[in-house]
C-alpha cells in the first residue's frame, strides 16, 4: 500500500482537494488563454492601424520632376493616436536614401505590395514596426520607396494587461464558486454514507439485522458486504452460543449421572470408609460443575461488559427475584433471607447485575453457618444505589478486598466449602463495567461479612 497520509484523509477532503486542483488548473488555463487572445487582438488592431497609416502615407508618394515627394497626411497619425498616446516614428526612404523621418529607424525588410511587420527594439523601447514598399515611376525608371512606420507598444500592453486582470478576477471568482459547489456536492454525495454510518452506530449491541436502507447504487456493494458480514457474525455468535450450550450439556449430564449414582450408592452402603469415598466423589463433582458454571458466567460477563445494554432497573424487584431464586438453597441450611428494601433505581444490564448479586448471595449462603440470617438491604443516597448482603458467617479474615476479587482467589476462612473463587471476581467485574464498585467489609468480631454492590443511582 502506498501513501500513509493520503490513505487517512477523508473522502470529502480528498474529493474537494481534487476538484479544487482541477478547477484551479482550468481557471489558470482559461486566464492564460484570455490573456493571450487579448494581447493578440490588441496587437492585430495595432498592426491594422499601422498598415492603414503606412498605406495612406505611401499613397501620397509621387514623382515630381525627377524627385520623389510626399505629404504626410494628418489622418495617418490621427488614426494611430486613436489607439493610444504612443509615440510614433516613421521613415520614408528610397533604398538607403532617407526622404524624411528618422534615419535610424530600421523596419523589417519590405517587399512590394505587402506590408511586413516586426517587433523590434528602437531607442531603448520596443516598437511595432510596419514596412511597405511602393514602386514610383521616376524618369521612366521604377524606384522602390519604402515606408516604415513604428509605434511604441505601451497602449497595446495596457489594454492587454487590463483584459488580463479582468480575466484573472473572473477566473478567481469562478474558482471560488466552483470549489464551493464542489465542497457542497461532495458533502451531499457522501450524505447517504454518513446516514448509514449513523444508523449502524445507533444500533444495539446485539442488533445484527441486515441493513434495509435504500441508497445510491455505489453504496450497494458496501451494504451487501456489511449484511453478509453481519450474517456471518450472527451465525458465528449463534454457533458459539450453541457450542457453549452443547459443551455444557455434554459435560454436565455425565456429571449429573455420576452425582446421582454416587448419592444412591451413599444411601445403600453401610461402611463408613466407603461413605467417605462417595462423599468425596460428590464434592468433586460439585466443585467441577461449580467451576464450569462460574467460568462460563465469567466469560459471559466479560463478553457482555464490552457492550452493556442499559435499562432502568428497579433494584428492590431485582433483589427480590434473586432472593426468591436462592431461598430453597438457603432453606436447606435453615438460613433465612431477610429483605430490607428502600426504593432505589440504577441503570444497567439486568442479567449481569442479577448474576453479580446471585454470586454474592450464593457465597453468603455457602459460608454461613446453619440457622443464621442473611440480610439483603437496598439503600439509596448520595447519588448511589447500594445493595448490601450481610451474613453471620466467619467474615473475610485477613484477606484484603483486592485479593478477594482476584481470579481464583478464595478467602482464608473457606475450609471445606466447595467453591472456585470466581464469585466475587464476577461481581466485581460487573459493577466496574457499570461504573460502580464492590465493597467488602468484615466485622471485627468475625461475626459476618458484608458485601455491598454499589451502583450509580438512576
Amino acid at each position: 500500500m502506498s501513501g500513509g497520509v493520503s490513505e487517512r484523509w477523508s473522502i470529502a477532503r480528498r474529493l474537494t482537494l481534487f476538484l479544487a486542483a482541477m478547477v484551479a488548473i482550468l481557471a489558470l488555463v482559461s486566464w492564460y488563454m484570455v490573456t493571450s487572445f487579448a494581447r493578440e487582438a490588441a496587437g492585430r488592431t495595432q498592426d491594422n492601424i499601422l498598415a492603414a497609416s503606412a498605406t495612406s502615407i505611401a499613397e501620397t508618394l509621387r514623382s515630381e520632376g525627377g524627385e520623389i515627394r510626399l505629404e504626410l497626411p494628418y489622418s495617418a497619425f490621427s488614426m494611430l493616436g486613436a489607439l493610444s498616446e504612443d509615440r510614433v516614428f516613421y521613415r520614408v526612404a528610397v533604398g538607403d536614401e532617407v526622404l524624411t523621418g528618422y534615419g535610424d529607424l530600421e523596419g523589417p525588410e519590405a517587399t512590394s505590395g505587402e506590408a511586413r511587420f516586426a517587433t523590434l527594439p528602437y531607442r531603448d523601447v520596443t516598437v511595432r514596426a510596419v514596412s511597405l514598399q511602393r514602386i514610383i515611376q521616376r524618369d521612366g525608371a521604377a524606384v522602390p520607396v519604402t515606408v516604415t512606420l513604428a509605434q511604441t507598444r505601451d497602449g497595446v500592453q495596457t489594454i492587454a494587461a487590463g483584459l488580463s486582470r479582468q480575466a484573472a478576477v473572473l477566473s478567481g471568482m469562478v474558482f471560488v464558486l466552483a470549489v464551493g459547489i464542489a465542497a457542497f456536492a461532495v458533502r451531499a454525495s457522501l450524505r447517504p454514507l454518513n446516514t448509514m454510518a449513523q444508523h449502524l452506530a445507533t444500533r444495539g449491541p446485539s442488533d445484527l439485522r441486515p441493513l434495509r436502507r435504500q441508497g445510491p447504487p455505489e453504496l450497494m456493494p458496501l451494504v451487501r458486504a456489511l449484511n453478509r458480514l453481519m450474517e456471518r457474525l450472527g451465525g458465528s455468535l449463534r454457533r458459539s452460543e450453541d457450542f457453549i450450550a452443547e459443551a455444557a450439556h455434554r459435560v454436565r449430564t455425565p456429571l449429573a449421572v455420576v452425582r446421582a449414582q454416587a448419592e444412591i450408592a451413599l444411601h445403600s452402603v453401610e461402611e463408613e470408609s466407603q461413605k467417605q469415598t462417595l462423599r468425596r466423589v460428590i464434592r468433586a463433582v460439585d466443585e467441577s460443575s461449580r467451576s464450569a458454571s462460574q467460568l462460563l458466567d465469567h466469560a459471559m460477563v466479560s463478553f457482555r461488559a464490552d457492550d452493556l445494554t442499559r435499562e432502568r432497573l428497579d433494584l428492590p424487584a431485582l433483589v427480590g427475584d434473586v432472593a426468591e431464586a436462592l431461598r430453597p438453597t438457603a432453606q436447606m441450611k435453615d438460613i433465612d433471607i431477610a429483605l430490607d428494601m428502600a426504593p432505589a433505581h440504577a441503570e444497567g444490564d439486568e442479567i449481569l447485575i442479577q448474576n453479580a448479586l446471585r454470586n454474592v448471595l450464593d457465597n453468603a449462603i455457602k459460608y454461613s453457618p446453619a440457622e443464621t440470617v442473611v440480610t439483603l438491604s437496598v439503600r439509596n443516597g448520595g447519588g448511589e444505589a447500594q445493595v448490601m448482603v450481610r451474613d453471620q458467617g466467619p467474615g473475610f479474615g485477613q484477606a484484603s478486598a483486592t485479593q478477594l476479587t482476584e481470579r481464583f482467589r478464595r478467602g482464608d476462612q473457606v475450609e471445606g466449602v466447595v467453591g472456585s473463587g470466581l464469585g466475587l471476581t464476577i461481581a466485581d467485574e460487573v459493577l466496574r463495567a457499570h461504573g460502580g464498585r464492590l465493597d467488602l467489609t468484615s466485622n471485627e468480631e468475625g461475626a459476618g461479612a458484608c458485601v455491598s454492590l454499589i451502583l450509580p443511582a438512576a
Partner: protein, 219 residues
C-alpha cells in the same frame, strides 16, 4: 408423589428415578417430548422435571406450547450457564429451574417450594399418630393446627416417617440431613433429634434412642 421426568439421557433418568424412589416418589420417565405427551395424556402428575435439550425438540418450546392448559408445575433441568438459559426458561412458563448436576436435597427443596407456591396439589400425606404430615408441602397438622417446623426438622421427620419402626443410624441421618456439608458431627443429629422430639410432644409419635444403633420412630 408422582413425577414425570423428561430426560433423554437414559443413565441419568434411571438414577433420578431410583433416587427419587428412595424417598418414596413414583417417577415416570419419558425420553422424548413425544413420549412426554403420551404420558401426560394418560396420567396426572404432581410435578414435571423437564430437560431442555431433547432429541425431538427444545424443552422450552414444549413449555410455551403447554403453558396455557397445563396445571402441573414444571421444573426445568438445565445444563447451560445460569445467565444465558435461566431467564428464557422462566419466561416460557417454568416454575423453577435447577442446574445439572443437581443435589437431590436441593431438587426436593425446590419441588417443595414450587408446590407450596402453586397451592400444593400433592396428596401424599403420612399419618403420624394424631398428626398428618405432608412432606412435600412441608406441613405437620395436628388438631387443626399447623406445627411450625424448620426445614431440617421437616426433612428429619420425613426420613423417620418413611421408615417408621426401623432403626436409622446416625450416619444415615447425617447423609440425608446435611448431604455434603463439611464439619458436621453426629452431635448435630442429636441436637436435631432433640428438637424434633420437643416439637412432636403430645402428637402421639416418639423417637426412641436405640443405644449403640441409632433412632427409631414409633407411634
Amino acid at each position: 408423589m408422582r413425577f414425570l421426568l423428561v430426560e433423554d439421557n437414559a443413565e441419568l433418568a434411571e438414577a433420578v428415578v431410583q433416587r427419587l424412589g428412595l424417598d418414596g416418589h413414583a417417577v415416570d420417565h419419558a425420553g422424548t417430548l413425544g413420549a412426554a405427551e403420551d404420558c401426560l395424556a394418560v396420567a396426572d402428575y404432581d410435578l414435571i422435571l423437564l430437560d431442555v435439550m431433547l432429541p425431538d425438540g427444545d424443552g422450552r418450546e414444549f413449555l410455551s406450547h403447554h403453558r396455557d392448559h397445563l396445571e402441573t408445575p414444571v421444573i426445568v433441568l438445565t445444563a447451560r450457564s445460569q445467565i444465558s438459559d435461566r431467564v428464557g426458561a422462566l419466561d416460557q412458563g417454568a416454575d423453577d429451574y435447577i442446574t445439572k448436576p443437581f443435589d437431590f436435597s436441593e431438587l426436593e427443596a425446590r419441588c417443595r417450594a414450587v408446590l407450596r407456591r402453586r397451592g400444593g396439589a400433592a396428596k401424599n400425606e403420612i399419618t403420624l399418630g394424631e398428626a398428618v404430615f405432608d412432606p412435600m408441602a412441608g406441613t405437620l397438622r395436628h388438631g387443626g393446627q399447623v406445627l411450625d417446623l424448620r426445614n431440617r426438622e421437616l426433612r428429619l421427620l420425613e426420613v423417620f416417617a418413611r421408615a417408621q419402626g426401623q432403626i436409622l443410624s446416625k450416619g444415615q441421618l447425617l447423609d440425608r440431613l446435611f448431604s455434603l456439608e463439611a464439619d458436621v458431627t453426629e452431635n448435630a443429629i442429636e441436637v436435631y433429634v432433640g428438637r424434633l422430639r420437643k416439637k412432636l410432644d403430645g402428637v402421639g409419635v416418639r423417637i426412641e434412642t436405640v443405644r449403640g444403633l441409632g433412632y427409631r420412630m414409633d407411634t
